[in-house]
Subunit: 608 residues, 2 copies
């Protein structure tokens, strides 16, 4: 994962780098470090743990200079220790590197360099890079980086400086994100736009295999063959403030409260009563759709959980068979893909490595790819044939909330769009569904308006070690996402089961006082689900149920009931997940955990 | 779930019933009871908990008679208390009933009977039945049971006696299993054959909606309309001893050790080197197969886990898209099924209620159904279009082991059979695969020959609260089954993750000293999987790895390594699951748990 940033210009580099890293911490926070050209040396300062450790260190050991690179790390090779932190310098101290990605052949390169007398001090894959660049260096950093890159297998975004070429940073990328910020006599590199958005709004998105040479007074781009190329500058319209916490204690709760707006924004202009669904960046015709024998929805983590609901929604609305799989599994199992296959990939960041790889592979086999993503101009968005942008705004909390809810809007919209193309549903039914979808922002607002009962329940269960979620039909998919949220935020080992599967093994775990959280939003399955609840109650479980206003039965055998407004069964997940997000948040608060940055996790998984 | 038994003849009924119940305890063991016509009364004796409680009670309060019914219960409605135990008598004590199944409209019937003055003492659904039969009774038990059955919705297998008609039992069934045993001037009813196999080897499998009237000197069958019908008697060739424990401490370990034989038996005559796979009870032609646009594999619990591997095997071998789903989810989600769909259902007992329902529903929509089951003549086998019988022999341990392994043989055999029909694979590859499959019984035998390391590791982890299983590709499906085994047998909250999904949330649960069990049998994925192991090791996890002989790398970063013999990747699950079954068994032993009958579970889930 990791985040990188770089600066060359007239400002104090340390300040720019720390500012950038503070906005990249969501990409990893095992350690942080900077390298600044200071007093004729590439001076490296690093510290394990959160960025504040580095900041404290810099209070005592100040470094000043006008060029530097910085890094915030999420450990992959080597434990989160000082020695494994970035930046890494070459043995002679003349080359400094920050790296995001994984070098797959680093053992091989390391042995080769050891044979040449280079010595290695860390457990990282990255440390081979500065030494390899140094080995190739003969006065031209760009040339040396190009040669080094040609030797590397794996994924990387790199920022490289050379002691002998002050005021110059060379950057390149392969399968890891990198943007170049364009200022007035100053230039930036960063893993993403918000890192340096307070300094500039003009960016170039570097493509795989391209190189950038940033000097104080010039910015040049080169392709793989070393030919100079022109790159378009994109103006960003986000404000830096929009990614700040506002008045909330954490980004996560802020983002939960932003959900009514995010939902509304995402539906705007797309779902309009009396009109067919309008999706500007999706160009699929009726004829094309009739030709697809099946749809794959591929994603990771929370986006995968949105895909699970996508399967139910699209199969029900458009009657095309849909299969959902996690990207890291799908890509390695020789899946059956051809031109009769439509692939929908979902990724908040648009940079998820495994999902991007699936998208590319699918296109290679002739499949059409629709991307659902929150980030305009991200790799997945740029490469897909069609795009649905969720307009959730930047999501900083590592546990996805508003992005997830808008992904659901995306899949419902696509489902209705397909149904309208194919004529698989009554117009009146689709009209009702659209009208009902438009009421959901208001209904979500009513859920988050009073969190008393949820906080009370969170208090009750926050010392639990294990929690089980139960559901049938879409209530199972709700349970899966609710369970992931609780895991991510509270570190409680929670697991979701389909109600009917309990008896086939998992009920062995149910004992006195265990907490079971049941979702009951699917009217046809209420009775069966209530039977499953009775099974766990009769074995001593304490039950919290989520259900809709009209269902009064469940009170009789549940210890707590959280009520959500009535809606149509198919879109109930948009409402039912919200109290469970809040529950996960408050449990984490009661446990005193770092809600926005759960341990071991990073926001955007750009390595495999 | 529940098991029922009934006897009419010249022997002491109590003894026959207790003997039968002792062989039915795998169907539930929350309570047991019998009703015997004794001293001019339908005398009921019951006791909560295991059968031995009832036996002790009967030592003191003997009941003698030549006719009786018995029941062993798995609680669904009402806690496992004396008052909820079966048999249930009518208010006036003149009708006695045992029931397996769930009466869905019992509340409605109860209110109606209450209106007529009947009083209810238990929380069960069953108690309405004796009173309803009593209400209709006017001297002819068969007529009364028929009328009562017409009022009942749900599933049931019933044994009914009337005080006024000594020496007569009336039995009927709907969606719950029931067999009639035919002796010499004595007759039996039972939920399955082994219950009374020590008394007779001749059985009639009652069909849904049929009635049997058992008297000491006569046995008659009637259809729904009351017309007398002839029913065929089947001779059973199993010996009662084959379902006993032999020299082992538990059925579960006995069945693990029976796996080489079960595998060999299941392949016999089907997989022969140099010949195409031969499946006598599957009648699918090349033309039919080319017409199927997709295959669904539907099952519950362990059989579902076998289905997960079936998807990979069949997609890889025959290149037909396969979707796997749990039966209780699939049937309620309006799945896309038509005559172009092939459905494979898997159920050890052949009586799993949700799986049976899916099979029926699929046939209604024109799909062809292949059943994979261990029980000849079971409902699922009888109703399917094609059958693959796993020849694992009776499985008594509640946690499935040998049945699971033979289900894998079934799906590999079907995969190769399809590939041979369609010509999707090189003959030489299929020939190698067959030869390799035939070596697996020997290789499994070599794994179970020395369990020292596994016992040692089981001892180390038996006090853990949480254990995580990791794998990629087929190693993930192995992890899923291994995790279920550990849950069922040891009550440890274990969960399986695909290696690549860890970073998307679950890794938040990894902390110092947590136990992670990794499966590494898929050669193409070794490197990626080793990266995932390093990720958890660097966060403090203790790792046990399962891998094949040739892989030596994994020793360097695992605390324990269990080695399995080399084989082809596609069929590695048959080997890799075995040490993990043993691990679950030994962990349960170290915890002092009841291995053969885990809490809350029953062998065959014949209710939804």
């Amino acid at each position: 994962m990791c985040g990188i940033v770089g600066y060359v210009g007239n400002k104090d580099a340390s300040e720019v780098l720390i500012s950038g890293l503070s906005r990249l911490e969501y990409r990893g926070y095992d350690s942080a470090g900077i390298s600044v050209l200071h007093d004729g040396e590439l001076t490296v300062k690093k510290a394990a743990g959160r960025l504040k450790n580095l900041e404290e260190k810099l209070q005592e050991e100040k470094v000043h200079g006008h060029m530097g690179i910085g890094h915030t790390r999420w450990a992959t090779h080597g434990a989160p220790l000082d020695k494994n932190s970035h930046p890494h310098n070459s043995n002679n101290g003349k080359i400094s590197v920050v790296h995001n990605g994984i070098i797959e052949n680093y053992m091989e390169v390391k042995e080769r360099l050891q044979g040449l007398g280079y010595v290695f001090y860390s457990d990282t894959d990255t440390e081979v890079i500065p030494n390899l660049v140094d080995y190739y260096y003969s006065g031209n950093l760009l040339e040396a980086v190009k040669k080094a890159a040609a030797d590397l297998k794996g994924s990387y975004a790199l920022g490289v400086m050379a002691l002998n070429e002050p005021d110059k940073i060379v950057a390149t990328r392969k399968d890891s994100p990198l943007v170049v910020g364009v200022g007035d006599k100053e230039y930036f590199i960063a893993s993403d736009v918000p890192a340096v958005l307070n300094y500039t709004k003009s960016f170039v998105y570097l493509n795989d295999g391209e190189f950038a040479e940033l000097c104080k007074d010039s910015l040049q781009f080169f392709n793989q063959d070393g030919e100079q190329i022109e790159r378009e500058v994109t103006e960003i319209t986000w404000s830096a403030e929009s990614a700040e916490k506002g008045g909330y204690a954490h980004f996560t709760i802020k983002e939960i409260y932003e959900q009514p707006k995010a939902l509304k924004d995402t539906m705007t202009g797309r779902i309009v009563p009396g009109k067919k669904v309008k999706l500007d960046d999706i160009h699929i015709t009726k004829e094309m759709l009739e030709d697809y024998s099946r749809i794959y929805i591929i994603a990771c983590g929370t986006a995968y959980n949105a895909g699970l609901i996508g399967k139910v929604a699209i199969e029900n609305l458009a009657r095309i068979p849909v299969e959902v799989d996690v990207a890291s599994e799908f890509r390695y199992r020789n899946p059956i893909i051809d031109a009769k296959t439509l692939v929908i990939v979902i990724s908040q960041s648009g940079e998820t490595a495994d999902t991007l790889a699936v998208s590319r592979e699918a296109q290679k086999f002739g499949a059409r790819v629709i991307a659902i993503t929150n980030v305009v101009g991200s790799s997945i968005a740029r490469e897909a044939d069609d795009v649905f942008y969720t307009w959730a705004g930047p999501e900083i909390g590592v546990a996805s909330t508003k992005a997830y809810l808008t992904m659901l809007v995306a899949i419902y919209s696509i489902g209705i769009y397909f149904a309208e193309l194919l004529g698989t549903q009554q117009e009146s039914y689709l009209e009702n569904l659209k009208k009902e979808l438009l009421t959901l922002p208001e209904k979500v607002a009513s859920i988050i308006a009073d969190t008393t009962r949820i906080e009370h329940f969170a208090d009750k269960i926050h010392t639990e070690k294990d929690v089980f979620f139960l559901g049938r039909g879409l209530d199972y998919q709700i349970a899966v996402e609710a369970s992931l949220k609780l895991k991510e935020l509270s570190y409680i080992h929670s697991e979701a089961y389909p109600g009917g599967e309990l008896k086939h093994g998992s009920i062995a775990l149910i004992e006195d006082d265990i907490t079971v959280i049941a979702s009951l939003t699917q009217r046809d399955l209420l009775e069966k689900m209530q039977s499953n609840i009775k099974e766990v109650v009769s074995r001593g479980a304490k039950v919290m149920a989520i259900t809709f206003e009209d269902n009064h039965d469940v009170e009789h055998f549940s210890d707590e009931v959280i009520i959500i407004p009535n809606t149509m069964d198919l879109i109930a997940p948009i409402l039912a997940v919200v109290p469970l997000q809040l529950l996960a948040y408050y449990v984490a608060l009661y446990k005193g955990l770092d809600v926005d940055k759960p341990r071991n996790l990073a926001k955007s998984v750009t390595v495999e």
